[in-house]
Amino acid sequence: MRYIKRVILPLLCCVLVLSGCSSPFVEDNTVEEVAPVTFWSLNKGENGKLEITTLVPPIMNEKKRLFTLDVDLLKQGKKEFNLKFYRELKLGQLRMLLINENLAKKEVISLINTILSDPDVSPRLYLVLVKGNFEEYLEKEKNEKKNLDYFLYRMFRHYERRNQGEMTIVNIHEFMEKVYSPYSDPVLPIFKVNEKKFTYEGTAFFKKNDYVGSVKDMEDQMFQLLANDHYLKNLPLSPLKVSLGQVRSRVHMKVDRNYKTLSIKVHVKGRIDEYRGHRNILSSSEMRKLNKDIESYLQGQSMDLVKKTQKLKAEPLEVGAHTLSPLLQPMSRKEWLNYYENMKVKVDYIVKIEPLSL
């Protein structure tokens, strides 16, 4: 003990300090020596391969370069990128995974599983479906916008935190949670991209591993109201020439005992932000008529959305969860989807317009 105190401990301290306290046990990730990757764009490559694209380096003052690789495995891509760049590319700051629509039709889950099981990757990884050539867009924009990747990440983060219902934002955990739940199917935001624009288009529906379809415009808004955020900062109803603001919905779904009818009752609260129609909404009777019009319009749009999901045999609305009961054995997913496909749907809207907003 005395020997340890007098000799070994001081010696150990000296060795520690002289070696700059660099540990042989922990990975050295000195910030200026690594190049953190902020996004991966995955595309369908030639001969059944994967095409991985990323933008390096992330430091503001250096010139950006677009790196693309054709690989069989994601990890292979991770390794080969390092051979092309003077710094080690690290996945610890991977924040976005942009999957091309063509690739998504073939496979998504195995790719996401690989990323999810990587301990380096953070849980805040946004998943996005891209329609069009994202690489072309990047190539053009990288010289004009210095930190394009960073700004895209900030955009996703902003909409995720604010929950305004403008767009569907999904992170890797939310996606995988739905993949492995029997009565729910995952969704992803779908962005349309060309040389000049990167535009939100709607929500993509998945049926387990397969991308089966998408909704956009009004149907996407209905999806936000019924199943996603239950809140829309702004809901323009152009056929009625009215725009509702601060719209909040409460949704009650009920499946009858024979699984023949699905009743959806939606309570909507909001206010009129803009009206350019012919009714005099200052009159209470006219206002009531407008209210009826809004209810029947929303009802029709919601019916369309539900029917679309029935047709796709997909469960983004998680209707199946309403069949569960403590006294009944849960049915299999396949069995439920067969019921769901042929179910009669009844949607009932109760819209309450805040009077003070007028």
Binding site: C21, S23, E27, V31, P36, N61, D120, Y150
Partner: protein, 500 residues
């Protein structure tokens, strides 16, 4: 084993008995011998008006000359009484029987008077009350509240406490420590509140001090501390009489030392080191906020730079993306690793801190400017340190000064260095390990055998009302439980006051 010890102790006593010499007779010759080569020692032989010879022995630098003439020389000379010592009414007169005793009296500022006819020696205490005036406390400054602080004289200090606690229960016990310094020590406690077991421990600790030089209260605390190797002080040094009075009222002990304006308060806990006298001056919300800020500052002071090193070296993935960009840009052209960069800057900051403390005020301002602006800015521009680190070092240095206890401020520096090494070695895991070790160490400490980490461990929930926050004073109705005071309640209760 025990037998051996006992035997050893007995043989020691026997040895002391053998070596002890019989009391030497008090004579002028003996005084001449011991005061040889002492220029300030005086041996005077005079006669009273009635012709009775007498001798005076004193050290002129230690005594009050005005009082010497007025109270001793004049009364004796004009005395007609044969028992001339009786005419000295204003001073306490002690009969001296041995040379050892006489020597001790002489050295603490007594005048020794010899009645030559009867060959009797008397000691009259006439110490020069040379002392600075009572001034503001410089170490624990507060805006509102009492401004007086202790001086180097124990009597003054005791008076300042007694003025605040006019109680006969306030007991004082005198000790003398230091074989060369003969420092006067007074142990203060309130009988009936302070736990006698704790008083016994303190009494035993003080009387067992065996050292030649006890010049300062921290010298004494070094012998009284239960854990000498710890970075944390186990007794609180204060120069504020109000703090001492408050602590005595809670059931703690105060130790006053001669020749130092700092008293020791014990037993204390780790959390006392973060309490300022101003906590009881402010409104409770503000006091709680400031106290919380102090704990936070302590954590910032010990963890901020190690955290920077851990993140920059091992865990880049934990840094928010926008900060990562700033860090990477800031560090992209530096020649040093984060560890060396931080170590160099921390050492420089410590040099600046020490230099500005030791220098006169005007020079220290210049040093502050040179250190802060020239070295900080120049280091960044020369590429030796990153801008991020300079900001963090600044925050950390200022945060370390928020802790009111200066000894803890210095301890934070050492802890920070240890955390820096651990964080650089194994990253966040090292910091976690360091925190565990720190908590374990704090938990293992004790102050006068009372737990140092109380009331967190052992848990005393009731003491939490004056721990991280300070609840309104009227609600703090009980004395701290960890002190086991004899009177638990601070308020008079309806059914029989001061119930146990």
């Amino acid at each position: 084993m025990f037998w051996k010890k006992k035997k050893a102790a007995t043989s020691q006593e026997e040895k002391e008995k053998k070596t002890s010499v019989p009391h030497e007779a008090v004579t002028l010759e003996a005084f001449k011998k011991i005061t040889a080569k002492m220029d300030d020692a005086e041996i005077v032989q005079r006669q009273t008006n009635s012709g009775i010879p007498f001798s005076l022995v004193y050290i002129q630098t230690l005594i009050d000359h005005e009082r010497f003439n007025e109270s001793i020389v004049n009364p004796i000379i004009h005395s007609t009484n044969k028992q001339f010592v009786q005419c000295i009414a204003t001073c306490k007169v002690i009969k001296v029987s041995s040379m050892e005793e006489a020597k001790n009296h002489l050295l603490i500022g007594c005048v020794l008077v010899q009645d030559v006819e009867k060959n009797e020696w008397w000691a009259i205490k006439l110490e020069n009350p040379l002392s600075r005036a009572i001034e503001n406390s410089e170490t624990e400054t507060i805006v509102y509240g009492p401004k007086d602080s202790f001086t180097e004289r124990v009597e003054h200090n005791l008076y300042m406490i007694r003025r605040r606690l006019p109680l006969t229960e306030l007991k004082t016990e005198k000790f003398q420590v230091g074989s060369l310094t003969k420092t006067q020590v007074q142990l203060l406690y309130i009988e009936g509140i302070a736990n006698p077991d704790i008083v016994d421990i303190a009494r035993k600790n003080i009387s067992e001090v065996n050292f030649d030089l006890i010049l300062e209260s921290s010298n004494l605390s070094a012998f009284m501390d239960d854990h000498t190797n710890s970075l944390f002080p186990q007794s609180l040094q204060t120069d504020r009489p109000d703090s001492c009075a408050y602590s005595l009222g809670l059931g703690k002990l105060v130790i006053l030392l001669g020749n130092t304006p700092f008293a020791l308060i014990a037993p204390i806990t780790f959390f006392h080191l973060f309490q300022s006298p101003e906590d009881y001056v402010h409104r409770w919300v503000i006091a709680s906020f400031l106290r919380t800020l102090r704990y936070l500052s302590f954590l910032i002071a010990i963890l901020l730079i190690p955290l920077y090193v851990a993140l920059a070296t091992h865990h880049y993935q934990m840094i928010p993306l926008q900060i990562l960009y700033v860090m990477m840009e800031s560090r992209s052209k530096l020649p040093f690793t984060p560890f060396w960069e931080a170590l160099i800057m921390m050492v420089i900051i410590e040099i600046i801190k020490e230099a500005s403390l030791r220098m006169p005020t005007k020079t220290s301002q210049t040093i502050g400017i040179i250190g802060g602006i020239v070295i900080g800015q120049a280091a960044v521009e020369a590429g030796f340190a990153s801008k991020v680190l300079i900001v963090l070092v600044g925050i950390s240095a200022i945060a370390s000064f928020l802790v009111p206890n200066y000894l803890v401020t210095k301890a934070t520096t050492v802890i920070q260095f240890l955390f820096l090494i651990l964080s650089s070695f194994i990253g966040i895991l090292g910091i976690a390990l360091g925190l565990i070790l720190l908590l374990a160490h704090l938990n293992g400490l004790s102050s006068l055998k009372q737990p140092f980490f109380a009331p967190v461990a052992p848990l005393h929930w009731k003491d939490w009302n004056d721990l991280f926050v300070r609840i309104p004073l009227p609600w703090i109705k009980q004395r701290p439980q960890y002190l086991q005071p004899l009177q638990k309640w601070r308020v008079k209760r309806r059914r029989g006051s001061n119930e146990q």
